[in-house]
Structures are given as C-alpha cells and as structure tokens.
Symmetry: C2
Subunit: 137 residues, 2 copies
C-alpha cells in the first residue's frame, strides 16, 4: 500500500476511531463520524470544545486514528499515528463547517463549543489477511 492508497481507503470509511492518551497514561478511544476533509497528510474532524478528547489532546497531542472494513472474505484495518491539534481559530472552523452542523452547534460556525481536530499523519500500519505493512507519510 502506498500513502495515497491508504488515504483513499480511509476516505471510503464512514466511521473513524480516534485515540488519545490521558493524564494517567492510559489510551482512550472513541468512534467519530468520518473526517470532514483529508488534505495532504492532514485529516480534519469536527468536535465539541468542551469534550474530554479536546482536554486530552490539549495536554498531550500524541494520537492515532483507526479505520477498518470488514468484508465477507477480507478484513482490512489501518492505524495511523501522528499528532492531533485542537484548532479554535475561525479560519479553520470555517474551513470544515457544513450547513447541517447548526443542529449541534446552535450559535453556528462561531459557536465557542464548536472546534476542529486536525490530525497530521506520521506513519501507518496497514493490516490485511494476517499481514501487517508499515507506511511512512
């Protein structure tokens, strides 16, 4: 798999699993909606500024994002490690805002509880049919 193929694969998945490391050093994982934008080595998600993951990434930006696809005869998974940046600046918030987001953020695109998680890929581990492959970004 090339870096481009990995990004294509993740662009097709509907759910992302993002992990952080908490203050006590434990990993913490949660499902997220698919990324809003994938651009170069960066993957953008929208989230609540008040969420635990924002607190955790503010203190420790080490992160991974995981995607998988379970077919009838084939299982594929990719875990990308890298850094997660919490973006509260208006330009980034504008960049990934969608009309329907008003349902979740009453004040719209300037809602202080709406912010962006920008993940920068460093390296990936791709798993398919009992084989693991490492890809650098």
């Amino acid at each position: 798999m090339t870096k481009e193929q990995i990004l294509e694969f993740i662009a097709e998945q509907k759910t992302a699993f993002i992990s952080s490391v908490d203050r006590q050093g434990y990993p913490v994982t949660r499902a997220m909606l698919a990324p809003r934008i994938i651009e170069g080595n960066d993957i953008y998600f929208s989230t609540n500024t008040s969420s635990n993951k924002v607190k955790q990434y503010t203190e420790n930006n080490k992160a991974c994002v995981y995607f998988y696809k379970r077919g009838k005869f084939k299982y594929q998974g990719v875990c990308i490690t890298g850094e997660m940046q919490v973006c509260c600046d208006q330009a980034t918030k504008d960049k990934i805002w969608r009309f329907g987001d008003k349902l979740f953020y009453k004040q719209g695109v300037t809602d202080p509880d709406y912010c962006v998680l920008k993940f920068t890929c460093k390296s990936a581990e791709y798993y398919c049919d009992f084989k693991t492959e490492k890809i650098d970004f």
Copy 2:
C-alpha cells in the same frame, strides 16, 4: 448504566477495538474479534504471541477496550480503561481455546504463537445520545 449493564452491552458486540501505548508514547488501536470470555472484571482475547500488541503490552500494560453500536436513531459507545496482561501459561490458553482456532494456530492449543490477552477493567466511559457517563469497576 451499571457495571453489569456495561458488561452486557459489550457481550452483544461482534468487534472490539483495543488500544495500547507504544514506546514513543503514541496510542495504537486495532480491531479484534469479540472477547472469548467476560468473567468478573476480566475480558479475554486470543492473539498471536508474535504480534505488535503483545510487544507493546509487555512493555506497557495500560490499555483500553472500546465497543460501539450504531443504531438507526441511537449511537452507543463505551471505552473501558484498565490493564492488559499477556498470558502464555497453558491453563489460561486452555481456558479460552476453541476447536476452530486450529485454523490459525497449526500446533493447536500449545502453539507458542497462540497466547491470551487478559484485560482487567478499571473504569468506563459510556456515551449515548450526546451524554457521557463514568462508571467505576
């Protein structure tokens, strides 16, 4: 949610997502088949002794397991943090072995590449309908 309800919820899911922390301090996540046994506060998985996760858990036993269910109108997710123990002793290997495992471990239940991951739950974060709840084990 009580601790019992959390354990019931995870027993119904077909996929588990388990995370470790690597040597550089990055979280690493991968999908696993559903746990083999859930017993008290312990969750058992089978795996390959030669896998990266075994290496990572041997060096750092801090772990989380994540389960989720995406319904039409309801999304539920639970992340349990705790410690992961790598068990290579025959008694534990016997405990969770199933006949069909011979497909993956040619030497059967004593195959040195077959081992058990025993996760001990410490605390959980349950997410449903935009609300988060903390549960201690």
